[in-house]
Symmetry: C2
Subunit: 311 residues, 2 copies
């Protein structure tokens, strides 16, 4: 196996990814207890995060509000989802603004990607925000029943929607995506770019998993489709919640068993083999225009860094 070795016992690569860490205990068993959820909503210590699409309300470096601030914000939303309890036992909720809010001085609506990249709020906030964004997005996309077209209503503290027509139950969805660093026998890795990337940025190939395939086969299929490269052995490395809007990134390493690249020009701008020295130089710069790798918030960078540090 030419891939990086497994980490030491007990080491959890996934917990090193952005959006992966949350101090909240979800307490899913409490969601269907309406009395308890109402008590949490009435708790003066309750905290609230407010989103509008992929943007989050930030005030004084915080994305969570309590007391009077939370009370005012609760008026602005129809759907409150219960995120869980923090170590102090305080209940956390998230809500979606009904319409774009008018901002007061000191407030900003910041998209989740910038929030993480520029460390605008503390890193502990990203886990709860990923949970909030993915769940609120699901609500937006399931206001009507896909089976019969009738309106649905939110129950179970925001983790279920029931159809008012045929009664079908709907639950939050997570879309698994494979993202992979493919290495060949000459100590090179396969990186590509799409037209929407900033100039010079290359990263791991990735793609949505399809119904009826394994993680390993999805890695092989997507790599073949995008680059023409055949992949043999595949090894899972780490996962990451990716709230754009509701993905689960499954980070893997794979061994190439062919070397001739054929770029899928419908999806990719370019796709190439990079040597270890090239990759190390790319990791050392973030300058737009120069060849570089994605920022730390992406699991792709972690896959690349682990590989680059091998030797």
């Amino acid at each position: 196996m030419i891939l990086p070795p497994d980490p030491p016992s007990g080491f959890d690569w996934s917990s090193h990814n952005t959006y992966s860490v949350s101090l909240l205990h979800r307490h899913s068993e409490q969601r269907t207890d309406e009395t308890l959820v109402q008590r949490h909503l009435d708790d003066p210590q309750r905290r609230l995060m407010m989103l509008f699409g992929d943007r989050v309300l930030v005030r004084s470096g915080r994305a969570d509000f309590e007391g009077n601030a939370a009370s005012a914000l609760f008026q602005e939303t129809d759907t409150q989802i219960f995120l869980g309890l923090d170590p102090e036992g305080r209940p956390w909720f998230a809500g979606e603004f009904r319409s774009e809010p008018e901002l007061e001085p000191g407030e900003a609506l910041v998209d989740l990607r910038s929030l993480a990249r520029d460390a605008i709020v503390g890193s502990d906030s990203f886990g709860p925000l990923a949970q909030a964004r993915a769940t609120l997005f699901w609500h937006q996309r399931h206001r009507f029943c896909g089976v019969c077209g009738a309106p649905t209503v939110s129950i179970a503290a925001g983790y279920q929607r029931n159809c008012t027509g045929c009664g079908t139950q709907h639950f939050p969805r997570t879309d698994p995506v494979v993202i992979m660093l493919i290495q060949d026998g000459e100590d090179r890795v396969l990186l590509g770019r799409t037209p929407r990337f900033e100039a010079g940025m290359y990263t791991c190939l990735a793609g949505f998993m399809e119904p009826g395939e394994t993680v390993e086969d999805a890695v092989r299929r997507e790599t073949k489709e995008e680059s023409g490269i055949d992949v043999g052995a595949v090894r899972y490395h780490a996962s990451q919640p990716w709230p754009f809007p509701a993905n689960l990134m499954l980070g893997c390493y794979g061994e190439a068993i062919s070397t001739d690249i054929e770029v899928d020009k419908a999806e990719m701008d370019d796709c190439r083999w990079f040597s270890r020295d090239e990759v190390k130089a790319m990791l050392a710069t973030t300058e737009v225009g120069k060849l570089h790798c994605p920022p730390r918030l992406a699991v792709a960078r972690h896959l690349i860094e682990v590989w680059a540090d091998l030797k």
Copy 2:
């Protein structure tokens, strides 16, 4: 690390799971080429699998039909999904009966689980059938748009539905589920049962992943919720498409860091620690009533077998 070691280089545990193997190349790039898809539909060599919910039409030990048999069956369905091309270049499709079909002599409608457990058709059929079942189920659940309630129409050879009202695009969904064998420091594993299991069957704990969590945290959360056991290190082992109806099983090992079980009686009948000798005895029998493990079609059994063979 007390968990089973990684397999030898290049060994793909996932490919040993039922529903994981398909000889078809999906050719996703062909789906949006309507002329090409029509040519595949008109190809006299095309093959068709027909489902009704979770049951599959079987005739003479086959779940795929070609020639006149396929032509007749194509009349019985509105939605044909393109599964891919087999090694001989023949296009495969799947369709859903509009209503429960009247069976002719020699025909049967067999549920996917029995089909696999009793080896009623060849093992190569299960990959395409998993792809078909998951995708056809998605069609049933997305006939109307969740954003606006208007009808949707199938395009892209059955891999996309577009809303006729607001234009929202909908894509097939796969629900990730963690399934885990938890081991403690005394060489025991944690197995549980729900009331719907046949008498005596115990298996790995499992649960749907939630928005905004890693695979590893989902293993810890679900184990804690169902058994009260705290889990430290988690290691991914293998994945399996699980077409009941559209799940992706993510099989993992985990190390228990507590031992006192508290069973979640709302979800589980029982949950216990089993010694290695007990597990070996359970693997050796399938007798209902006696303690036993799930059949080979479940990734749970593979997790247990790999662990049991360690010593």
